[in-house]
Amino acid sequence: MSAAVNNNVENHDDHHHHKETFITKWVFSQDHKMIAKQYFVTGVLVMGVIGVLMSLLFRIQLAWPEESFSVFEIFLGDRWAPDGVMDPNIYLALVTIHGTIMVFFVLTAGLSGTFSNLLIPLQIGARDMASGFLNMIAYWLFFISSVIMVASLFVEAGPAAAGWTIYPPLSALPQTQPGSGAGMTLWLVSMAFFIASSLLGSLNYIVTVLNLRTKGMTMFRLPLTIWAFFVTAIIGVISFPVLLSAALLLIMDRSFGTSFFLSDIFVQGEVLHYQGGSPVLFEHLFWFLGHPEVYIVLLPALGITSEIIATNSRKPIFGYRAMVASILAIAFLSTIVWGHHMFVTGMNPFLGSVFTFTTLLIAIPSAVKAFNYIATLWKGNLQLNPAMLFSIGLVSTFITGGLTGIILGDSALDINVHDTYFVVAHFHLVMGISALYGLFAGVYHWFPKLYGRMMNKTLGYVHFWITAIGAYGIFFPMHFIGMAGLPRRYYTNTAFPYFDDLADINVLITVFALITGLAQLIFLYNFIHSMYFGKKAEKNPWKSNTMEWTAPVEHIHGNWPGKIPEVYRWAYDYSKPGKKEDFVPQTTPIAKGEKITEH
């Protein structure tokens, strides 16, 4: 704790005397605010656009299979779309890279990287991350990872195409599909950099939250955003190394002839030498990360939502301690539910029962969170700005998507919907769309903190409503085509006349996807335009209690001029009786005779 004390008493200028050059300010910056922006631009603005574009391409293919489209030729070239007809291998590659980019690059690095970096120091009252240098390294590893992933799109035999889950043997043997050659190698190398970046970033977040909180900022006075980022970082540190080991073993099987995941294989007329390995082992290792990853994506979004819903309801978050407890419960349980992705892999049926049990247990803290959000709105005075709309939207899609988890998490019921479009519908709503809403909510809310300006409200509203309608329009019907028996990752459904009557639904979904995808341009425009021409922001535009709004609008090195403010109360004294204003910043001392809020 001594670090925390030091951090406070020091006057910042006393010990930092370095000159800023263009390179250290804009490129190799160690300032958490600049690094946050770098994550956003790389993860969301660049990778996100690529990921969404890919989904639009394969959605067009699914709606009008066998037709020729010049957009395919433009984006995929002659090799992968001769005469504008998409090749099945590139379809699988698009799905794979779309999934990888959305889950890891946009919603892990883009979301956590942006907001953990921006908010952890500012909301706990620290000058910067514990190690600005490691933080910078983490970003640059992520940057390298992104460059490699994008480069993999251009290799001769095509990018990785074994699904974002890269199950061997498909991912291990180039003889089984072209994407498992150089494309898969680059995928694995890219992910190795990604994992290294994520680990460095997470360790930094953990250490910073534990050691650099300002005076008075006890753990139970932390805003829920910080709790979410903190616990997310812990889950990441626990689970990402397992993915790294899976990737390393896979690299060995691919390049050095080992048989960790391979056995008794015959391809293209040849018996391969592999003996004794098992793909099921890979599945265990993958999902030991893969499931927690869902919460790595989701918890930060929920943390952001907690903060925004409380602020804009002008009301304390309902059940602060229950919220913290459910974050912790979800974090713990998330590490023992991975087997629900493996009910029909040939795993022992008894294990199936165990994982059903743990999986349905995790529904309880998730339900508690949803109820607490609803209760926070109750009797509030809601400020329905775009950030608030996206937060409410998150709760809505989180419920809709989460409820079908009751079916997928139940081993018996999973048998017939596993690997169908029902799963695609479920996880997009509960994880993809929800986390994306969290991301948007965060941007609208903290844009003034990022760029010192306000975003355009009207465009924000338009963006929300098109996206909200589109999200249900895209993913709700997918439940039905899944329950009709349509497996996922199918290049076209026309090989089965049995699925002919799903064609209309597929067209409808694609039309919604195109509209929704294009509507994101509104957001891009609003973001970039407001960066330069937005209205200048006030210091505390949302009348919020948290500490970041006590820092000057202009970014300065060290966040606060002079001493770091001290904290006297929790973050949610909104509309406290006896106060003139409907908010009391954490830095306001307890007045004479004021009762400390019990929470």
């Binding site: 699904g163 018996v271 809601l382 329905l384 009751i406």
Partner: protein, 357 residues
Amino acid sequence: MTVLLSIIAVTLLAISVWQITKIFEISNLGAKKDDSQVASEKDNDLQGKLMFAFLVFIYLVTIYSFVSYTKVLLPESASEHGYTYDTLLIISFIIIFIVQTVTQALLHYFAYKYRGINGRKASFITHNNKLELVWTVIPAIVLFALILYGMTTWSDIMNFDEDEDALVVELYAQQWNWKARYAGDDNVLGDANVRFLNDFDGRNSVGIDSSDPNGLDDVVVTQEFHLPVDRKVIFKIRSQDVLHSAYMPHFRAQMNCVPGMITEFSFTPTTTTADMRLNPDVVAKVNRINKIRYDNSQELIAKGEEPLEPYQFDYLLLCAKICGASHYNMQMKIVVESEKDFNKWLNEQKTFSEVIQ
């Protein structure tokens, strides 16, 4: 086509943006134009109402989907355990609906009801232990009941006995087709391994060990396989290259095919193919499909191409695990018929010893 579509999509988008922007502008009329994000009372009013409208939208989407998409769902189960499966599914869905309807209503109604008014103060409520206990315990109880039900169903399905009189069938997956192997008169599958695949100039298509006497009477079939109705079938599932998944949706059955390992699944078919073709839901579905195929055929004929063949219902074995380029087209027909017809069909097939002669 592309051009047309892009134009339609862009136009639709442009129109909706323009419309919505206008609505907001009109509703802001008179107010000082402030397009920063801080919501005015007017914004709160409009957005709160839209939130309520969105609740209606969610309900409408749900109702519409159920009314018009229920018909595409799978027909009633054609296997014994499938009935339990369907019951459990329906119960789970009822619970989901109740919770979905109520929580979405509360969420959006509160967003509407408590939309901000300048000068009003929100209630200062931090927590309520009793309430929180209630909404922790109730889901817990419901989930525990579901877990118990699910677990018993699951273990009934998965922990089947290896009865003497069950029919043993091997499903064999490779990129990108299926084969099925019957155990022959001894009802024991001969040993097999990918090492034997190149024996007999490739005629040993699932790699049976020719030195194992149990294998000589085995029968390997492609394209379609038959099952006798009302007799338990035990599937032994293999793959020779990558992961596949043997998915038989009409029987509520799925199990992955894992190279280097034999996985198992078992069910008892209860409805013959002929009977299923008479099921009203199936009849309606087939008619719809044939109408679509007829329309598409007209287009094809106009272009001077071959028309599509009319469709007739069959049970299907599909692949549900990504396995490479033709994953989308890994299919095998399943025919369920009387024991007598089944035996007749099986006797017409060549045994392994005949094939390798």
